[in-house]
């Protein structure tokens, strides 16, 4: 078996892997290798031919492939190595990575550090157990996006979309533009789970109904899908009897959530967060394994690629510091806690004594929509570190904020984040 040696291996050549590699290079890592399973770099951005990427990071509006190409071009002008069509099979505790491709067969890479950037996958019909028959014509919105935008084929003529995740909303518009009749988007929750701008631009502008608090209770058809039964659901998401409605359609697209792809990380022994389903990390995106970093959708699912890039740069920089022999061990762990209105916060802990950065960036998701709330950050002395006004918070849009490093002292042992109306001033 062939053996290679690198300072840094990055698994995944999507937006996270690309930005992490470039940032590590800028910070002086000599030998970097990106392993990407697809025959091209850019990951899922390649099938996202709609615009709206880069508003935060580049301050301009790009399509997915355009956004990716900015990084790919920079990468081509660097000496970062890339292996395409390459699948990582195993990561070993002794810093060895086993991968496979057509040219090298199975091969081993010895590395000093590793960045996990494998992205996420979509929830399937099975994962949410939609009852009924099992005909052709049911697929995830992302799979449909791949057929339409990469292969040039349409999955159907009359489409119902379950779930108002961003990919589902984007596909509602995309298919409508292809002449497909998108009959509606069915959403279990009482709110849209995608970005507000996608609901407006992809549904409202095309007169596509969004049915909130509804679900699909049965799939019909034996060979090809013939229709679905939809029903309204109560507060505990149980279908309300008597509200059933049959909708004929030949295609059902699912946009019901994304799951970070952490099989490799799990097998390696990374400590996982039950809510994000990604590794537990500190502000440098270091996992519980000191030479393993994680960023992008494998860490937690982002709604904007701009945030992925920013986070990947944190991981790339931290990996570079680690490789260049800077200390990496957490010296004084500060636990991040949060109230019940918040679903999760990344990072899950920070190092009180780390003074590499001026500010610490936090990413969080709320559980419920609300307006005019305050985001309050307190330390273990009950001292309010931040008190920020948020006009609107909703689960579909990630909330971010920066905590100045100076607010964390050597005596800080925990930081609590809350979102509420009561404390508004």
């Amino acid at each position: 078996m062939k053996k290679l040696e690198y300072d840094l291996v990055i698994i995944g050549g999507g937006p996270a892997g690309l930005a992490a590699a470039l940032e590590a290079k800028r910070n002086g890592v000599p030998k970097i290798l990106i392993c990407e399973r697809a025959p091209y770099l850019g990951g899922i951005l390649n099938q996202c031919i709609h615009n709206g990427f880069g508003l935060q990071y580049f301050k301009e509006e790009l399509t997915g492939p355009e956004y990716a190409s900015r990084f790919i071009e920079e990468l081509e002008n660097s000496d970062i190595d890339v292996k395409l069509g390459t699948m990582v099979m195993e990561i070993m505790v002794d810093k060895k990575v086993i991968a496979v491709n057509r040219e090298d067969g199975m091969f081993q890479i010895d590395t000093k550090a590793l960045i996990l950037a494998m992205g996420c996958r979509e929830r399937t019909r099975g994962a949410i157990t939609i009852p009924g028959s099992r005909p052709a014509g049911i697929m995830t919105a992302g799979t449909a996006q791949s057929y339409v935008n990469l292969e040039g084929y349409l999955p159907g003529k009359e489409v119902v979309i379950l779930g108002s995740g961003d990919i589902g909303l984007i596909m509602a518009r995309r298919l409508t533009l292809e002449g497909v009749n998108v009959k509606g988007v069915i959403e279990l929750m009482p709110y849209s789970t995608g970005l507000i701008r996608n609901k407006v631009q992809c549904l409202d502008d095309f007169d596509i109904p969004l049915l909130l608090s509804h679900s699909i209770t049965e799939v019909h058809g034996n060979e090809r899908l013939e229709g679905v039964t939809i029903a309204e659901v109560d507060k505990s998401f149980k279908p309300i009897e008597g509200t059933e409605q049959y909708v004929s359609c030949d295609t059902l697209l699912l946009s019901v959530g994304l799951i970070p792809e952490n099989e490799l990380s799990n097998n390696l022994g990374c400590e996982m967060d039950k809510v994000t389903r990604g590794p537990v990390v500190n502000e440098k995106r270091i996992t519980n394994i000191p030479w393993v970093f994680a960023c992008g959708n494998v860490l937690h699912v982002h709604d904007l690629v701009d945030n992925v890039t920013e986070e990947a740069e944190i991981a790339g920089k931290a990996a570079a510091a680690f490789i260049n022999n800077k200390k990496n061990e957490v010296e004084k762990e500060v636990i991040i806690t949060h109230d019940n209105n918040i679903g999760y916060v990344v990072p899950q802990h920070i190092d009180a004594l780390n003074n590499q950065e001026q500010t610490i960036k936090f990413f969080l998701r709320v559980r419920n929509s609300d307006e005019d709330v305050r985001l309050i950050v307190k330390d273990n002395f009950n001292k309010t570190l931040l008190n920020l006004k948020k006009t609107i918070v909703e689960p579909g849009t990630m909330v971010t904020f920066n905590l100045p490093r100076e607010f964390v002292t050597k005596d800080t042992s925990s930081i609590d984040i809350s979102i509420s109306k009561e404390q508004a001033q």
């Binding site: 157990t129 009852p131 084929y153 003529k157 409508t176 292809e178 090809r224 939809i230």
Partner: protein
């Protein structure tokens, strides 16, 4: 077309009969109306090799399951089919009444010749299966139950028959049977007539319909529906043995069982239905199975999330609940293998041997001399996951397709998919690929590999992507090319969902 023996049905029974008879100098044709073998009852079941400990040894199915257990290991070895046997099973009880039933079952098992059965006390039970519900009190261990991959098993039997000269005609439906002088002489199919001396009716759920074509109508197949959950491989370590829940008044007992590939399979209920195409799952039944069996036995298993898929199987139960393996009373040359419900998968080799006896007894001038160049096995497909890293490297050097991973969840290479398309029984649709090599069987259910598999099928079969199907006939995956759908067409059916 003309043959000596025509087998109707490409399930495990039809395939076993073809495999059994292919050792002789007989012309054999197997016809299957679906696009692949293993598309009915053989496809959707518990994938278990029953030991027969809990079955009435005096029934035909009791005798056959016990007989099959004696030969199945060697058969699977010859055909290079994965079989885990013995694995062992534990029947789990919560009530004292369960213990009484277990004692009776144990006595029955001993009578059936099963050795090493043992009643377990609460401590022993939880030592053997630590993730069981702590409230479980009683256990009956039986060492001989096994597990198998039913698709691989059925395909292997059919492939071996093909290697030995049998023909398998897919997408071929029997429409009628030709009878002359009270003797069958052929069948009419959607693909033309086939003349034959013997017809074996292994049509599963439709065996009664086929039997009625020769007016042999003293039985009826009543489908009995059972629904299952398939769990992600990450739950593999939750159990070691096949776990039966103790039978109750409403249920004959359900199972939670590891699969050959490391998933967990759980189910199933039993519901009599009329419609032989009713493969629907229902929220009600799934909830009931989950509450009364799965979470009752293993509280850690979730209702959703790590469930890869749920599915329904239809058991082809006959009116008298036993297997019907006999020559027709109305005509010569027609043999029924009907009412094959559980443990049919296990019994298949014994059923095939019994059918051979019935074919010989038909006395229709058949050449039962052994085939000169008979192959008792088959070349197993390349399965990269079985090979060492060095072996894989050598293989990829020879054929780089084995180095291109198509299905990321199950790590299936392009080479393995290409092989499946070009084997003796070719896989020609998405689900057939899934059953052969597991591409699309994993946690993303083909979300990522689907478009790639479709592309490979289209290229290898020389058909348009629009012609590729999910599971044969009209189950097309795609409907048109981009820009092909006229906006008018969209407008014409412009209705939207409104509340």
């Amino acid at each position: 077309m003309k043959t000596d023996v025509l087998i109707i049905g490409g399930g495990v029974i039809g395939a076993s009969v073809a495999h059994q008879l292919a050792r002789y100098n007989l012309d054999i044709i197997l016809v299957e109306k679906a696009s692949d073998v293993c598309m009915g009852t053989s496809k959707a079941n518990s994938a278990m090799i029953h030991s027969g400990f809990n079955i009435d040894g005096d029934t035909l199915k009791g005798q056959l399951v016990l007989a099959a257990n004696k030969v199945i290991k060697q058969l699977c070895q010859d055909l290079k089919v994965d079989l885990v046997k013995p694995l062992g099973s534990i029947t789990v009880g919560f009530e004292e009444a369960d213990l009484e039933k277990m004692k009776k079952t144990m006595a029955n098992g001993i009578k059936n010749g099963i050795q090493g059965m043992k009643l377990l006390n609460q401590i022993e039970l939880h030592e053997m299966e630590p993730h069981l519900n702590p409230d479980a009190k009683y256990g009956l261990f039986e060492p001989e139950t096994g597990i198998i991959n039913p698709f691989e098993y059925t395909v292997a039997l059919a492939e071996n028959a093909v290697i030995n000269g049998a023909k398998v005609l897919l997408d071929t439906e029997v429409l009628d049977i030709i009878i002359e002088n009270k003797t069958v002489t052929g069948v009419k199919t959607n693909k033309g007539d086939i003349a034959t001396k013997i017809i074996i009716n292994a049509a599963g759920l439709y065996a009664d319909k086929i039997a009625a074509m020769v007016e042999d109508i003293d039985f009826e197949i009543k489908p009995r529906k059972g629904q299952y959950f398939l769990y992600d491989k990450k739950w593999r370590d939750i159990l070691t043995y096949t776990i039966y829940s103790a039978p109750t008044k409403v249920s004959k007992g359900m199972i939670v069982v590891p699969t050959i590939d490391g998933n967990i399979l759980a189910g199933s209920n039993a519901e009599a239905v009329e419609d032989k195409t009713d493969l629907r799952t229902t929220a009600q039944a799934l909830d009931q199975i989950y509450t009364s069996a799965i979470s009752h036995l293993f509280p850690e298993l979730p209702r959703m999330g790590d469930v890869i898929t749920t599915f329904t199987g239809l058991r082809a139960s006959s009116t008298n609940e036993d297997f019907i393996i006999e020559s027709a009373k109305t005509v010569t040359g027609f043999i029924n293998a009907a009412g094959i419900q559980s443990p049919g998968l296990t019994s298949a080799p014994a059923i095939a041997a019994m059918i051979e006896g019935l074919v010989r007894a038909e006395n229709r001038d058949l050449d039962f001399s052994p085939k000169a160049n008979y192959e008792k096995g088959r070349q197993a497909p390349v399965q990269l996951s079985d090979l060492s890293y060095e072996e894989r490297t050598a293989l990829i050097e020879e054929n780089p397709d084995y180095g291109e991973i198509i299905c990321r969840c199950e790590s299936i290479s392009k080479g393995e998919i290409m092989d499946a398309i070009h084997r003796p029984i070719p896989a020609t649709n998405m689900d057939a690929i899934k059953r052969r090599v597991r591409a699309g069987m994993g946690r993303c259910q083909g979300g990522f590999c689907g478009p790639k598999v479709l592309g490979i099928l289209s290229k290898e079969l020389g058909i348009s992507p629009l012609e590729v199907t999910q599971k044969g006939s009209a189950s097309f995956v795609l409907t048109s090319k981009n820009k092909e759908l006229s906006l008018e067409e969209g407008d014409r059916n412009y209705e939207k969902i409104r509340v």
